[in-house]
């Protein structure tokens, strides 16, 4: 195995371990999505049968779990970016940069760690939802598609976090971007279907890629395995990943050259 792969694996292991060592790194990404999912389910569960345009679902929980997964990935990926910024602030990044470690390992390790954590998180949310009565129409295959897409989603979002960390070098600045992502989620069909929205809000949700990304994942749970919808989600993730990882690579090079 090449040294770059070994270094990536070692640094990714460090990232995962450091996430578990600090409750503030993993607790919000589990707590807030679960609480919101529970509140929305108990608030809207009785109403959805009477809302024109709402898709036929076994219960609101089945509908809401995808939103919780995406929200969880978002929070933990922003947290990962903040931890990376913490490494820059604390000097670990500089020590790593002055060592013979591969440059790509510095970046890829953080993204790999985000992927592993997102997969675990998505599995956990699905299990919780199923325990509380959600049904996954796509069965095991549908659940696996959702988990894989959630894991891959950690690449563009985690990449964005790392990009911001490289640009600002400040954990506080990276955390400060969270409301922006949260707004992006609300102005999409993450929590409620686009068919029930009206006016300018619906137009924004229509053009928001998060809507199409979430819908491609959600359909696996509420209707059954749909490879075409999964392909749309995957295409959006790949497109976003190219942008964010590309931006990361440029910022990493600039920082290593001392221009950041």
């Amino acid at each position: 195995m090449s040294p770059a792969v070994l270094q990536t694996a070692a640094l990714a292991r460090r990232s995962i371990k450091s996430t578990f060592r600090f409750p503030q790194a993993w607790f919000p990404s589990l707590f807030f999505p679960l609480v919101l999912m529970a509140i929305f389910t108990a608030s809207f569960g009785r109403s959805i049968a009477f809302i024109p345009g709402f898709p036929k679902v076994d219960g609101f929980l089945s509908f809401a779990v995808t939103g919780a997964i995406v929200q969880g990935v978002l929070i933990s990926a922003v947290g990962a970016g903040a931890f990376f910024a913490g490494d820059i602030e604390g000097g670990f990044f500089d020590r790593l940069a002055s060592s013979p470690a591969s440059r790509s390992a510095i970046l890829l390790s953080r993204l790999c760690a985000s992927v592993v954590l997102a997969a675990g998180q998505a599995t956990f949310f699905l299990l919780i939802a199923v325990i509380f009565g959600a049904t996954v129409k796509g069965g095991v295959v549908g659940a696996l598609i959702v988990i894989v897409l959630a894991a891959l989603l950690a690449v563009p979002i985690g990449g964005l976090g790392v990009y911001l960390a490289l640009r600002t070098g400040s954990a506080e600045a990276v955390q400060g971007t969270f409301p922006l992502f949260f707004a992006l989620m609300f102005f999409s069909s993450t929590f409620f279907p686009r068919e029930t929205m009206t006016g300018w809000f619906q137009i924004v949700a229509d053009i928001n890629p998060i809507s199409h990304l979430v819908e491609g994942m959600r359909v696996q749970i509420i209707r059954g395995v749909d490879w075409q919808a999964a392909g749309v989600s995957l295409a959006i993730i790949v497109g976003l990943a190219i942008l964010s990882v590309g931006a990361c690579a440029i910022s990493l090079r600039r920082r290593l050259e001392g221009n950041a």
């Binding site: 345009g53 609300f186 929205m197």
Partner: protein, 259 residues
Amino acid sequence: MSASTLARTASVSRVLAWRALILVRRMPAVFIPSLVMPLFILVATSGAFHGISAVPIGTSSYLAFTLPFATIMGAGFAGINAGMTLARDIEGGFVDRLISSPAPRLSLVAGPFTAAAVRSLFTTTVVFAAGWIGQLPLPGVAGTIGVYAMAACFAMATACWSMGVALRARTVQAAPMMQLVVFILVFTSVAYAPRDLQTGWLRTVSDWNPVTRILEFSRSAEFQKMTWAGLWPALVSIAVLMLVFGSFALYGLSRLGND
């Protein structure tokens, strides 16, 4: 407390409240979230969950249903700001200087407490303006006073909670703890749906949550359907919140400087 002490407390509190209010000009980054977040809640919630308008929620507009939720959240942020200001003053040494001066200790919390109520007037006005732009009718004089009053009372209650946290933690890093309790209190009330539509655990929690009655009365004020049967549970809820959070803040204040 003698009349002269009371007058001195009021005078120092007024100065501290003014100081907290003009902080908006010196540190707008502290205040802007408390204006933006209620607006975000109003727009994002009413837009995303617009479909709920089709079910019986007391109005045909989910925007109208969401407005009191946004005013209450704005008031909550105003209260949290009071706690954050106090925490920053403790960290910066301003509180130490004030304690060693002849200024009455009570004014330390009375100032930010008053400022929170005044700030809630701004946030409520901003939310009302946004609702008006969204073509919501204004609720008349009595209704408007009702919505403002509920927001101001909630701001004072959350200010007590946040200052209690600040007096114990003595760092602005404790802000997430101030926010968490306020968010949970509001979100587990009737923020998103009326009690009749809620199911399971949330229905039980919102039945006991004091914010439920405050929000319900604020909604009835907005819809110009205020009744005594709606007002007294809201007043009792405010009294309960003030008693619990007020005691929490005052106990924290009494221990300040003792260790």
